[in-house]
Symmetry: C2
Subunit: 234 residues, 2 copies
DNA sequence: GACTGATGTCTACACCGTAGGTCTACGCAT
DNA sequence: ATGCGTAGACCTACGGTGTAGACATCAGTC
């Protein structure tokens, strides 16, 4: 039956995994591929190949490639859970921040999606899972006595910082990990000494970057500031 | 002569603007297109069409599409100037921050490039124009008496905040600007009331977002913190 | 059985990035 | 003048891409 047409062989990993193709399964596979090879290596055809399906079947579960990417971002962000009943809002925000960092480090290739996708879509049209953390944090903070405006403010401050931090941390790419000398390891020797004297001088400092510590320091400052400036009515 | 082949007509805006095609001219045109239609509408072929050249000529001035995108990001970032001789480092950092915001708002479609491109490239391989602000700020701060490590720290804090802020501010997309009611203007009525009660309640606050003020407030806090925590030896 | 809707498949189209080759024009040593 | 090297522009062609549109299959309901 079904002699394969002129296209490539349709079965790679598995012909038809077991049952139907669901959006969740599709997104999981897409996420896996993105984690492995980066965003722009993800194509509808490639994804279909990995799923053992026809490329066009994907369009039953995502209207678009854009929609698929939204789905991937949403999937990742669902790993972020906020306990909006926690009475210690500071501790809870700290926990959220750590979770977010962990997620970003686990899926570095998805981070561009996370920070970039919302720029194209009005808030209300964004995937619901993407808005969940916002709503939950608003709940947490109003529960703690903040006004809606202040709660929104705090959310923005936290995620602004978080996004900034993650973008900083993910830039730490080592060019030749096997090299022992910091200057060579980071490839800084390429930079002309006359043009970038300070930067070249910082090889050892750059090499010693500690993202986790950095996050904690930033959180200390930020949360202390938030607590002192706008203390909720108890 | 030269009856056009099966491809499209090669002359659109101008056949051969005036002289040779330079990298600068190419990048300027690319930036213009990105500003107008967004990043993923930019194609080598489209760019060539806009320049009135053959698509392949572009490869004389950019090895890659990736290289071209790097060039666009670099072009934009060159608008950012740091006066590293300024003795008032706080005022200078503030000025840099304001410039950066202005640039980001002028070229919103380039922001994804700005924040996303460095994630893929080791620091030393990034376009030089991209590293200029970093080097200059390091110069500014060491001039002011900071150690290299502290200077780097301050740079990171500033740009972390800046990136976070811009990503926040650019998310403020109004769905239907002509609508007067905030809830409808932002499209928030789509969100199910039971799932997003807090978010829906914040329509007026969301609508009143003021990016410039927000930036200043953040800068006040950040710069005050930096000044008090790590004051340079005078 | 007939109908309906969801799901999968096939074909086809317009477009993409770019490897490889060729044609032309110019600067420069001979 | 001659020849040569080189830089710029162009053409063709290949293998990919996202997805519209038509058709096929099947589950469940009347």
């Amino acid at each position: 039956m079904n002699a394969s047409s002129a296209d490539s062989a349709p079965q790679d990993s598995e012909p038809h995994p077991d049952g139907k193709l669901t959006r969740a399964r599709m997104l999981a596979c897409a996420l896996e591929m993105v984690d492995r090879e980066g965003i722009d290596k993800l194509s509808m055809r490639g994804l279909a190949r990995a799923l053992g399906r026809d490329p066009m079947s994907l369009y039953r579960h995502a209207t678009n490639k854009a929609d698929l990417l939204d789905g991937v971002a949403e999937t990742v962000l669902t790993e972020l859970t906020v306990d909006s009943t926690d009475t210690d809002w500071i501790a809870q925000l700290r926990a959220v921040a750590r979770q977010f960092r962990r997620i970003a480090l686990t899926h570095p290739h998805v981070v561009p999606l996370l920070v970039t996708r919302p720029l194209a879509t009005p808030l209300a049209l964004r995937p619901r899972g993407t808005l969940r953390p916002l709503e939950d944090i608003l709940a947490l903070l109003t529960q703690a006595g903040f006004s809606g405006a202040d709660a929104l403010h705090i959310y923005r401050a936290l995620f602004g910082f978080l996004h900034g931090h993650i973008l900083n941390e993910l830039q730490e790419i080592v060019e030749k990990p096997e090299e022992t000398d910091d200057l060579l390891r980071l490839g800084l020797h390429r930079l002309p000494i006359h043009e970038f004297p300070h930067l070249r001088g910082l090889a050892s400092v750059l090499a010693a970057y500690d993202g986790a510590a950095e996050l904690e320091r930033g959180l200390d400052i930020l949360l202390a500031g938030l607590q002192s400036v706008t203390t909720p009515a108890i």
